[in-house]
Symmetry: none
Subunit: 144 residues, 2 copies
DNA sequence: GCGCATAGTGGGTAAAGGTGGGTAATTGCG
DNA sequence: CGCAATTACCCACCTTTACCCACTATGCGC
């Protein structure tokens, strides 16, 4: 499973290195090499899926009535942006301009494991959302 | 079980020695050698879990609705930061920069046993929270 | 008090992970 | 159909991490 947090730099060509440990998980747990990258509709970040997980998501969508407004919106934002990327020999992928600007990634990118997918954030956006999340949890009664 | 308080120094490479007694507990009570280290969302410290305890935590999270805001925040802060570390031959682990800065650990680190997990604090932060905790207990009616 | 065992610290070296950049192939557009 | 811009692929470098060895400090038993 994808876990841990890594920071890698995007170069001038728009390439970023996928953390080696994530590539390992992809290889060993899924026996795949390429990933599907799409917008995350609820956060200003991108989400990367192994093919198997992506298919599971598609199946879930497919099970819903296709005239549902939420489903339509989801298709428009997420499905439309999704694309498969194969890392190059150095383990990097080229993130297209549209996705880059959606997530606001300029240079420093954070990869955050999220069990069966992982998120890609701009470093400063990540920090902000991290402090926000921490503040939310601060006064909570967590029983776990 | 993990108990007691130990202070060890982090070297320039970011490595700290896990107290031998904690490694013993890990070995004898859990039959494991590596630990999962993650942020503690409610304190400015890190928390180390034996795999078994970590799995228990994941199961608890998994049992909750995944669209719950608290659960999401928890995943972001804790799960994303979690990583497994195997101590080297000397019993040390390398704490990554992001976790180090979260806990504010510069040099001196305090390891505090907490039954089935243990906490890792910056020494001065530990002192502060210790006095705060003592002050809190001062006027309480403790029946234990 | 001395010596041994164990815990903790410092540092060198080889491998792996990550970064920068050049050139060939491809795409898209006039 | 040709040119410019983008993308794919490859090579080489640098930084970080993993692994190993040796040393120091501390505590315990004799």
């Amino acid at each position: 499973m994808f876990q841990g947090e890594y920071t890698n730099n995007m170069d001038e060509k728009g390439r970023v290195n996928i953390p080696a440990s994530f590539r390992d998980v992809l290889q060993k747990s899924y026996n795949e090499t390429s990933i599907i990258v799409a917008r995350d509709p609820q956060n200003m970040c991108l989400r990367a899926y192994p093919q198997r997980e992506w298919r599971r998501l598609l199946a879930k969508i497919g099970a819903r009535p296709s005239n549902d407004r939420i489903v339509q919106a989801f298709k428009r934002t997420v499905i439309s942006s999704a694309q498969e990327y194969a890392p190059d020999k150095q383990g990097r992928v080229l993130i297209p301009q549209s996705l880059r600007s959606y997530a606001g990634i300029s240079k420093s990118a954070v990869f955050a494991g999220s069990v069966d997918t992982f998120e890609i954030w701009d470093a400063t956006a990540w920090d902000e959302q991290l402090t926000a999340s921490l503040a939310l949890l601060q006064n909570q009664d967590l029983d776990f």
